[in-house]
Symmetry: C2
DNA sequence: TCGCCTTTTTACGTTAAAGTCAATACATCT
DNA sequence: AGATGTATTGACTTTAACGTAAAAAGGCGA
């Protein structure tokens, strides 16, 4: 007994529109079953959607995301294919590691700006206290 | 004595086109000086460009990047402004932390796929060795 | 000064990722 | 059966972020 999700359930859960889900389907990123004309999404489809959204948050294009998702389900394949797969994995990993470094730097800078702002807040507070004396 | 960069120097250093730099200028993300009609970028402009590219790698839009860059140079300002600034900082920080988690997960998944692929490679290798006996 | 090269400006084109709108089609409630 | 509400499909539109092409303006070496 497969549990199915309707399109609207998923749009509500992930805060996206039906247009978006149909678009992803047209791009070959998900392929839900049908009952008549209605789309029925399996739990597997749902996790694919999660992967897509995660990829988007990281700034990957839908095409890149598609490639990555296809890596996950890639069939056994022969040596050449496997080599290509390994190459792609290492490429993506490098990208992700770079993003990690970028995030670290940005977080540090945010810390600095925040400190500055807090310091100025404190100054303002001191001024106000002086004026109220 | 200010050291200046020409537009082509920067396009080569960052592997972007002049069109891109002029576009960023039109969007108010950088504003290089001019000598006649020519653009002259200061080291400060250059670091702004670095920030922009870093933001792009993380999937931020140019508008978001602009907002973030403006945070950096934000003038002292009064309490309300500072409060808003602090809010924005914490919002961006949350986003970045989410991206960090997304990256961790993706890296773990890549590890899994890689292990699978390597295992299959090993199997293939074993097969080949058997056939050559 | 001439010719060549680079830069700038202006304008139009393109691509990804949806948004919007209209026409049907199903399903359900009454 | 009729009304109502939700899904689907197809077509057209929009927005961000540039690409591309053409024309004019300097700059510079011979």
């Amino acid at each position: 007994m497969q549990r199915y999700f309707t399109i609207t359930q998923l749009t509500q859960e992930f805060d996206i529109t039906t247009r978006t889900l149909r678009f992803y389907e047209a791009q070959g990123l998900v392929s839900p079953n049908r009952r008549g004309r209605q789309r029925l999404y399996t739990p597997g489809d749902r996790t694919r959607i999660k992967l897509i959204l995660r990829g988007k948050r990281l700034g990957f294009s839908l095409n890149e995301i598609k490639e990555m998702i296809e890596m996950y389900g890639s069939a056994p394949g022969e040596a050449g294919q496997l080599g290509l797969l390994l190459e792609r994995i290492s490429f993506r990993r490098d990208e992700l590691l770079e993003k990690q470094r970028d995030i670290e730097l940005t977080l540090l800078e945010l810390d600095e700006v925040e400190e500055g702002a807090k310091a100025r807040m404190a100054e303002l507070g001191a001024k106000v206290r002086m004026e109220n004396d």
